[in-house]
Structure formats: structure tokens, C-alpha cells
């Protein structure tokens, strides 16, 4: 590893920024193929119903209609759409408003839509259930045989449980016991690019232009569900317009486009509308979290118990986890999570899937406990935060304490914190904080590096870059490892025919997994270069050194031979391939963050205005401060939206989603998002490439709780159900003191 970084650590604009902002980038929706048909999907208007009759004859007779798929002629299983049940492309009974019942391919989009209107569907409505706890009550409508508690990882109808110590003993030892309930809602990922897929068959070979976060996984799933050998499936995604976790693997629209293309012998494009995007795919799982926490008078924790329900919708696509309790040192902890089937939209991964909702619960409650005990919330955390996983296993690198202290300093916590609702009058200011963490795992991924005879480098990786600048990062790592300028590196990505397996842009792992493979392959390239030089110089390989695009004899560092000279007789250059699977040894590995918020609440209108926002992060060594900073700001924007604005609402009587879409679900716009001061506490992690850990998902984790805690500090109102809307503030406001202590 070079002692002095050349590419790493410098703010570097995205490798494809120009194409993206000038409209030259060809997104999946831009793909136009000769003879291409357009597909649209008919969806259930009922939350739960049996299909009695389908009549497609009128639609099929329409000029321009080429094919119609329903459950009657298509039995393809969408295996990544449900990990517990057999979920088909078209299911009967339908289990949520938006469940697909038919797909039409036609000569143009409007004909396809008119054809949907001509399909006769007859349903028998079934009782439905939206609420998680009601779904588990005796007599609740059964969404899948065997009941609405989704089986755990062992296949048992039991909650996912994590336990250490003895919580009952912990409560007995406590001086005070706190019990509380926190509620989070279903939020859509709301990425810019809607779901879209273009499928084309050439003989028995299928090409799918997907809008996926992982082309390798998408290919694997398509091959599995369509019964094809892997070498007959090619998945391409050169540019994609965001996903935040809801474009993992392959989706039903990829399979539908493929099936329609097969049926018609023509390429087929299937693109969702924004409303479909909000309802028919998935969002973040809603939760209801019951806590019981025991504390000593001095504020130390004796027990944490959490029992939580997660609403998965009718198909089990995500874990349903509720994370957060891990932040605190406590000898007795028990968490139980019940993933529940409901007739709402499906819930699965959305940026840090289990985290912001769980951290909202635990960090609100800890804030409440600190307040009740008369301890400054900052001191309470400095006292109780754990520095080891489960208080036992050390972390590979640990920067959370520094995040807390530096973030507090940047906000001016010691000057600004005051007892809740101290401001006189209707406008009340307050500060809040919360901590967060997210796994920075390691795992298998591959890279192929090609060193051209002129010394330029091609990095082949199957990353798709969902907005994290992963392509740029892979290029930076290649440049750093080869000690050549970043401008000499190109990245070939987003095509399973041109790149080896990459893990996919999810779990904040591309830098750690695929980046590790890039660096390892580069080491191999350097070894090959040294060996070539040694051969031609007739010396032992270990007598030759490499640095900055040149080789030299160890004892003559002034006589350097450039790559181009070494590769003179080698027109194809050198190729190195690495498949890496690093393992942790006796440590756990997390990224960490602490967020600090100062805001003002207008208690007459319930308006909340963020005045200052500080986000301090330990993501290891920062490879590219420019794009890493953007990740933090984007995560905060989503956190603000989740804390103050967003919710997919359902009508309780009809079971229909009321507000799918950007406007309806009140997704924040730039005007709603504060400036964010980003602080990177750079720990050099021994496992990551050049000391890097994960940065993609952590920024949303503490945001929601930090805002909620600041609202409490401003007003004395503890809102326990998201989002913190005007109506919730105003409904609680009669209890707000308008005559506080501060002028």
C-alpha cells in the first residue's frame, strides 16, 4: 500500500457526471429497440379478494394488442418477491391494492392502457387487515395459510429473538423502570427513476435492460425463475436513477417484460407510473415498538426489553428487523420482533432497512430517560454508549465517541441545550441528538483489471451505481492501487457480459466488497509487471519494485522503466482477476454516526424549521470526500422527510392507499431540507480498502430521532408516532407552556 495517497481522499467529481447532467447518459427508460412493444399492468383495486373470472377476449381483439398475461396463462414464480411463500407474477387471491392481475403488451403505451380497461375482472372480496397487531389477533383474516405471523429464519411461527443476560433480573435491580411505545410508518423509497425494464430475446438468449441495483443478482434471479442457464441471460444497467434498496435483485416487471417478449417475439418495455412505483413494489416497513428499560439512579442501564411488530405487507420480501438497542451498554437485553402479514403495500429494504425506525424508538426513549433523571442527554449517552458489539466483541475500528463529542461541539450543544420548552412565546427553539450505526460487513465480490500497453487501466466491475458514485470509487481504488492518475482509469460496469460478479449496490457494501477485489487484482497486475521486468532483465522477481507506473531494480530507484516499455511486446496488455472474500477475525465491524439538530417550532402552526444540522460520521477512511459528503446530505434529506413529512396513508374502510406519489406522500423537496454540516471522523479501518468502511446507508439512521429529540427540547412535547406533523404538534400544544424561562 502506498504510504502517501494520490487519488484517495481528494474531492473527485463523478466519473460520469457530465453524461448524467447533459442527458447523454442512457438510462433504461431511454432504451428504444426496433419493433419494441410497450407493456402495462392491471392491478387489483381490492386489498384482499379471490378472482372469480377473467375475460381478456375483448382486450385481445383490440388492434395493436399483442399479448396478455394473467394467472391463467402465466405461472412464473417471482422467487425474490417472497422468501417464505410461493409468490407468482399474478396471484390469486390478490392480497393488496396494486397486486398485479394482468399484463398487456401492445404497439404503444396508450393502446396497452386502453386494453387494460377492456379486461373484465370479477372478484369476490375477502376480509382484509391493515393493522399489524389486529392481524395477529384471533379471528383476523388469514393472508397466508398458517396465520399472519411470518415464519422466522428457522421456519418457525415465532418472533425473531435476540437475548443476552436476564432482563427480569435487570428490571429487579433497577431503581426506575420506563415503558413506552413508538410507531413508525410505511415510507416509499421514492427514488427518481421509476421501475422500468426492457427485455429482448435473440433465440434462446435473453437480454434485459433493467433498472436494478445489482445486475449479477438480477441475472441469477431471472435465470432461476425462467429456468434458463446463466450464460443465456444478460443484464445491462449502465446508468440508473436511484433505488435506495427497492431495486435489489430482479423484480416482477423484469419477469413480466421477459415473458411478454417471449410470447410476442418482440422486445418489450415495461415502465411503471409513479403511483404504481409507490404501491406495487415496496417501501420501508412500518413498526410498532414496545420498550421496557430499567435504570439505576446514576443513569446506568440494567435492562432493555423490546417487543416490536413490523408490517411486511402480504409478501415476505424483507427481514422486518428493528435495530437500535445495540447502541447501549447493558447487561440484560431481550428483543423480539414479529414480522406480520397485512394487506398493505409490501415492505422491504429502504436505506438502512431496520435502522431509522428502531433508532427513533430507542433514542427517543433514552432521551426521555435522561430528561426524567435530570441528566443532560449528551452526558447520558457518553456514559451509556457501548464501545463493543454486545458489550463483548471489539469493533474493527470505532469512532462513535468522537462523532458524539465533535458533533456536539460543532452544534454548540453545551451552550444551546436547555431544559425543555424554555423559550417564551409561540416560537420555541431546541436542540436534539441521536446516535446511529450500521453494519460494514465484508464478503465475496470480483473484479477484472486490464492494464493496456500504454499504461491506461480498465476496471471491469458489475456495479450499477445507484447514486453512490460507486463507479467513481472503483476507478479511484484502481488508480490508487496502481499509483497512476485517476484520469488514466476507465470503469466498465453495468453489463453482466462484460464484468465479473459484483455483490450489488445494497447493504452499503460495494466499496468494501468489490473495492477490495479491485485492489487485490491491482496487486496481481503489479506482480505480473514485476515478473515481466525480472524476466527481461534476467533477475529474480523480488529484486524488482513497482511504483507510480514504472518498475525499477530495488537498488536503482532512479532508473525507472515505464509500463509502456515493459509491455512493448505485449499488445494485449495484462489482465488480472480477483475474487475476494475477506473475513473478520475476532471483531465486529460497523460504521457509526451522531447527528445534532437545532430547530424552531412554531407552536401556533406546528411548523418546524431546522436551523442547524450537524452530521458526524465514522465511515473509516473517506475515499472521496465530495461524494461521501453527498451521501450524508442525501440521507439527512430522507431522514427529515421521514421525521416530519412522509407517510403512505390507507383508508381504513376500503383498504386503498390514499396518497401514493411525491405530492401526496409529502416527500420533501430541496426547500424543506436544511444545510448539513458534515464531519468525518476518519478511523483507518484495518479491513477496508485503504481503511474505508460503509457510508451509503448510515446517514439516515440517527436523523429521525435527532429531529424528534430536538422537537422535545423545544416544546416539551414528545411525539411518539411518525411523522411529526403539524396536527400532532397542535393536538399536543395546549399543554405547551407559552411562558418559559428564556426571553
Amino acid at each position: 500500500m502506498a504510504s502517501e495517497m494520490r487519488s484517495i481522499g481528494k474531492p473527485t467529481p463523478r466519473i460520469d457526471a457530465r453524461e448524467r447532467v447533459t442527458g447523454q447518459a442512457r438510462y433504461t427508460g431511454d432504451v428504444q429497440l426496433p419493433g419494441m412493444l410497450y407493456a402495462r399492468v392491471l392491478r387489483s383495486p381490492y386489498p384482499h379478494a379471490r378472482i372469480v373470472r377473467i375475460d381478456v377476449s375483448k382486450a385481445k381483439a383490440m388492434p395493436g394488442v399483442h399479448a396478455i398475461l394473467t394467472k391463467e396463462n402465466c405461472r412464473i414464480q417471482w422467487s425474490s418477491g417472497d422468501s417464505r411463500n410461493k409468490r407468482l407474477l399474478f396471484n390469486d387471491p390478490v392480497r393488496f391494492v396494486g397486486d398485479a392481475v394482468a399484463a398487456v403488451a401492445a404497439s404503444d403505451r396508450h393502446t396497452a392502457e386502453e386494453a387494460l380497461q377492456q379486461i373484465v375482472m370479477e372478484y369476490e372480496e375477502l376480509p382484509f387487515v391493515l393493522d399489524m397487531e389486529q392481524a395477529l389477533a384471533p379471528g383476523a383474516p388469514e393472508i397466508h395459510p398458517g396465520g399472519n405471523l411470518s415464519p422466522n429464519n428457522e421456519g418457525e411461527r415465532a418472533p425473531e429473538t435476540d437475548q443476552r443476560g436476564d432482563v427480569e433480573r435487570g428490571f429487579a435491580e433497577a431503581d426506575q423502570v420506563f415503558e413506552d411505545v413508538y410507531i413508525s410508518k410505511h415510507h416509499n423509497n421514492a427514488q427518481m427513476e421509476p421501475r422500468v425494464s426492457v427485455a429482448q430475446w435473440e433465440g434462446s438468449r435473453l437480454t434485459v435492460w433493467a433498472s436494478t441495483q445489482g445486475i449479477s443478482n438480477c441475472r441469477r434471479d431471472l435465470a432461476k425463475d425462467l429456468g434458463l442457464p446463466l450464460n443465456q441471460v444478460r443484464v445491462i444497467c449502465q446508468y440508473m436513477g436511484g433505488g435506495f434498496g427497492n431495486k435489489n435483485q430482479c423484480h416482477d416487471f423484469d419477469l413480466m417484460a421477459s415473458a411478454l417478449a417471449k410470447e410476442t417475439g418482440r422486445p418489450v418495455k415495461l415502465e411503471f407510473t409513479r403511483a404504481e412505483d409507490f404501491v406495487a413494489v415496496h417501501g420501508r416497513w412500518p413498526t410498532k415498538q414496545y420498550y421496557k428499560v430499567g435504570v439505576k439512579k446514576d443513569g446506568s442501564l440494567t435492562a432493555i426489553r423490546m417487543k416490536a411488530y413490523s408490517g411486511m405487507g402480504p409478501y415476505r420480501k424483507g427481514s422486518g428487523g428493528v435495530a437500535g438497542a445495540q447502541l447501549y451498554r447493558c447487561p440484560n437485553v431481550k428483543t423480539e420482533v414479529y414480522p406480520v402479514y397485512t394487506n398493505m403495500a409490501v415492505s422491504a429494504n429502504y436505506r438502512a432497512p431496520s435502522y431509522p425506525q428502531g433508532v427513533f424508538g430507542i433514542e427517543s426513549l433514552m432521551d426521555h430517560i435522561a430528561h426524567t433523571l435530570g441528566i443532560n442527554p449528551l452526558d447520558f449517552r457518553l456514559k451509556n454508549m457501548t464501545e463493543k458489539y454486545h458489550d463483548e466483541v471489539p469493533y474493527s475500528s470505532y469512532g462513535l465517541r468522537d462523532c458524539v463529542t465533535r458533533g456536539a461541539e460543532a452544534l454548540g450543544w453545551r451552550q444551546k441545550w436547555h431544559p425543555p420548552a424554555s423559550d417564551r412565546g409561540a416560537q420555541k427553539q431546541g436542540v436534539g441528538m441521536a446516535m446511529g450505526y450500521f453494519g460494514a460487513g465484508l464478503g465475496m465480490s470480483s473484479a477484472v483489471l486490464k492494464l493496456n500497453p500504454d499504461g491506461s487501466l480498465q476496471v471491469h466491475v458489475a456495479v450499477t451505481d445507484i447514486g453512490t458514485a460507486a463507479k467513481t470509487t472503483m476507478g479511484l481504488l484502481g488508480a490508487e492501487a496502481m499509483e497512476i492518475p485517476f484520469e488514466r482509469v476507465s470503469v466498465l460496469s453495468g453489463d453482466t457480459d462484460r464484468a465479473p460478479y459484483s455483490v450489488g449496490e445494497s447493504g452499503s457494501r460495494t466499496t468494501n466488497y468489490t473495492g477490495y477485489a479491485v485492489v487485490t487484482a491491482a496487486e496481481d497486475l503489479k506482480r505480473q509487471l514485476r515478473e515481466l521486468a525480472a524476466q527481461s532483465w534476467s533477475v529474480a522477481a523480488d529484486a524488482v519494485q513497482y511504483s507510480q507506473g514504472a518498475v525499477y531494480m530495488q537498488d536503482r530507484p532512479d532508473r525507472r522503466t515505464a509500463i509502456a516499455e515493459i509491455l512493448k511486446g505485449n499488445p494485449d496488455g495484462l489482465i488480472a482477476q480477483a475474487t475476494t472474500d475477506p473475513k473478520l477475525k475476532g471483531v465486529s465491524r460497523n460504521s457509526f454516526a451522531a447527528h445534532f439538530v437545532e430547530l424552531e417550532v412554531d407552536t401556533e402552526t406546528g411548523d418546524i424549521r431546522i436551523l442547524k444540522y450537524v452530521a458526524a460520521h465514522d465511515s473509516g477512511r473517506i475515499l472521496n470526500p465530495l461524494t461521501a459528503g453527498s451521501q450524508v446530505k442525501g440521507g439527512v434529506a430522507q431522514g427529515v422527510s421521514m421525521a416530519l413529512r412522509e407517510e403512505l396513508l390507507y383508508d381504513q374502510m376500503t383498504g386503498i392507499p390514499l396518497n401514493p406519489g411525491y405530492y401526496g406522500a409529502r416527500i420533501v423537496t430541496h426547500g424543506d431540507v436544511p444545510d448539513v454540516e458534515v464531519i468525518f471522523v476518519e478511523t483507518a479501518d484495518p479491513y477496508g480498502p485503504y481503511g474505508a468502511k460503509s457510508v451509503g446507508e448510515p446517514p439516515i439512521v440517527p436523523s429521525v430521532a435527532a429531529i424528534a429529540n430536538a422537537v422535545f427540547n423545544a416544546t416539551g412535547i414528545r411525539i411518539k408516532e411518525l411523522p411529526i406533523t403539524r396536527s400532532k404538534i397542535l393536538d399536543a400544544a395546549p399543554g405547551v407552556r407559552l411562558e418559559g424561562g428564556r426571553a
Partner: protein
């Protein structure tokens, strides 16, 4: 959306001749920011779409000190916002216009379209009809999620709120509208343009199916101080939860007469004579403004989930009164 016939007339006479005598089979296209989403969602399925953007008589923004402001129905929100004299004379109108949606939509959306846009009621937008009745004829709104619905004029059967941003300010400023149909032109005070529908076949405005809105006329407001105060959930791309427009006719420090109109609280822009009475003959103080706010909602009867809107309306009126008294855009 379904296929439709597209017509692009160049005169108002041609335009109205292309319109059917009943609602539903023809629709007018101006900025299209609402119509297109209604058509995509199959909420309207016109056989013919009449594009009026080429009708010159519907364009143009003109201000004279003697007759005030004339806004052609096709004037875009952006044109209005950028007009120097309108900015100076009608702060309430400009503040309302500046709150609309986003720069892109303000560049496309028109004054006529703002007044004629359809309600945002989510039951309506999800295909349950303007009055949102269930199969038994009961109201989905009254028993359902009515957090954004009416707190005034909500004795039924309509519970939606009028979505216009400009109407409260225009009504407070005493605007009139010119309508045009096969029988010629007619003029209407803007507050009479909006009606509470009684049946699913009615619309929310007094236009006949084959009439078009020609222009809006706002009288001079040299001696008037006005303001609009909106409460929105989001900074942009949102419709207000509540808005209050206030126009004060001042005699020195004293209010001679006042007009107070609330938006987004009732199926029509809601005049608040109770508040106007409180203000008349008085000098503006914080207490008086608060009293006016209280009076404005004295008749409010919130539904099961929107009591917070009463508080918002009360505060919006208070703040609009204080803002108007201070003057300026």
C-alpha cells in the same frame, strides 16, 4: 389514458362551439398541469380535448391605474408573479401565486387553470367521485381519513376543499370574472363563481359545460393593503393546508372596511364576514388580529380528524391581518 379527439381553436367562438352541452365528453386544455393527471388516472375521459392556448383573446395581463388589473385566463402564474405593477398593487395575489407548486408548474399553469382545477380530495383522485360516497350512499370522507378536508361549509354532501391558491386573494380584492358561452359573455363576481355541488353530476364552479372563462378583472387597490398567509406541509410542490387572504381598506391607521377570505377550508373559497366585522373601524393590533382570527373560525365544525385546521385558519387570519397592515410583498 384513452384516445381522444384534439381540437385547437383560435377564437373564443370556435372554442365554445367545440364544447359539448354536458360535462364529461369534452375538456379544456390550457396549462394542462391538472388535466393530464386527471386523464392519466381515468378521472376524466373526454372524447374531445379542446386546446385553448391559441385563442389570443384569452391571453394578456394589463394594468391601468383607472381600471385595475385584467388577467386573461391564459396568463401564466409566472407572468403574474413577475409583473411589476401587480406586485406593487396586489401583494395578497402575488403572495398566493408565489406559493403555487414549483417554478416549472408556475411557468405552465394558468390563472384560469388555478381557478378551475379540480379538488385534491384523495377519494376523488382515487376514483370515488367528487362527493366520495360509498356503495350505501354514505360519505367515505365523513367516516374516513378527512385530515385535509373541509372545516367550514361541510354539512354535506361535499367535504372536499377548493384547491385554488389565487381565489381567496382575488375575492378579497373584489375580483370579477368574464365568462363566455354560445349566448355571449356574462360577468360574475368571483365569489359567486364557486359553488358547492349537490350531486355527482355538478361541478365546483358556475361555468356551464359549454362556457369558458375569459378573464379576471381586479379593481384598483391603491388604498388597499393586502396579504395572503399560507400554511403548507412542504415548502414547494404542495397545496396549502389552510390559507387566509386579507384586504384592508385603510383610513390612516384605521381600517375602514376589511375583506377576509379563507382558502382550503371549505368546498368553496370561504368568506369570513365575522372577521370582517371585527376589523371594521378599528386600528390593527396583535390582539385585534387574533380576535379576527377567532371570529373567522367561529362557525367552523371540524370533521373527525381535522380539528387542527381550525387552529391553522385562526392563526393564518391573524398573521395575514398583521402582514397586510405592514404592507409590501
Amino acid at each position: 389514458m384513452d384516445a381522444f379527439e384534439y381540437a385547437s381553436p383560435t377564437t373564443k367562438e370556435q372554442a365554445v362551439a367545440l364544447l359539448a352541452g354536458e360535462w364529461g365528453s369534452t375538456e379544456l386544455l390550457a396549462g394542462g398541469t391538472d388535466l393530464l393527471s386527471l386523464m392519466k388516472d381515468y378521472l376524466v375521459t373526454p372524447k374531445r380535448v379542446v386546446n385553448i392556448k391559441s385563442v389570443q383573446e384569452l391571453k394578456g395581463l394589463r394594468y391601468t391605474a383607472g381600471s385595475g388589473l385584467r388577467l386573461g385566463a391564459l396568463v401564466t402564474i409566472a407572468e403574474l408573479v413577475e409583473h411589476p405593477q401587480a406586485r406593487k398593487e396586489y401583494p395578497a395575489l402575488i403572495q398566493a401565486a408565489e406559493g403555487i407548486a414549483s417554478p416549472q408548474i408556475r411557468s405552465l399553469g394558468t390563472v384560469g387553470g388555478d381557478l378551475c382545477q379540480r379538488p385534491r380530495c384523495w377519494y376523488f383522485r382515487n376514483g370515488f367521485g367528487l362527493l366520495a360516497k360509498d356503495e350505501q350512499g354514505g360519505s367515505l370522507v365523513a367516516d374516513g381519513d378527512n385530515r385535509y378536508h373541509a372545516i367550514l361549509g361541510n354539512s354535506g354532501p361535499a367535504y372536499f376543499v377548493n384547491p385554488s391558491s389565487l381565489a381567496p386573494a382575488l375575492i378579497a380584492l373584489g375580483a370579477k370574472v368574464q365568462l363566455f358561452g354560445p349566448g355571449g359573455a356574462r360577468e360574475l363576481s368571483l365569489d359567486r363563481f364557486f359553488v358547492i355541488p349537490k350531486t355527482e353530476q355538478d361541478r365546483e364552479y358556475a361555468l356551464k359545460p359549454n362556457e369558458i372563462l375569459l378573464e379576471v378583472l381586479v379593481p384598483p387597490a391603491t388604498k388597499v393593503r393586502s396579504a395572503t398567509y399560507e400554511v403548507r406541509q412542504k415548502e414547494a410542490l404542495d397545496w396549502p393546508l389552510v390559507a387566509a387572504a386579507v384586504a384592508l381598506n385603510l383610513d390612516g391607521n384605521k381600517i375602514r372596511t376589511a375583506r377576509v377570505v379563507l382558502g382550503h377550508v371549505a368546498p368553496i373559497p370561504w368568506k369570513a364576514p365575522e372577521a370582517e366585522k371585527v376589523l371594521a373601524g378599528k386600528t390593527v393590533t396583535e390582539d385585534l388580529a387574533a380576535e379576527a382570527g377567532q371570529a373567522a373560525v367561529s362557525q367552523a365544525s371540524p370533521l373527525s380528524r381535522n380539528a387542527y385546521k381550525v387552529q391553522l385558519a385562526r392563526v393564518a387570519v391573524k398573521r395575514a391581518v398583521l402582514q397586510a397592515a405592514q404592507g409590501g410583498v
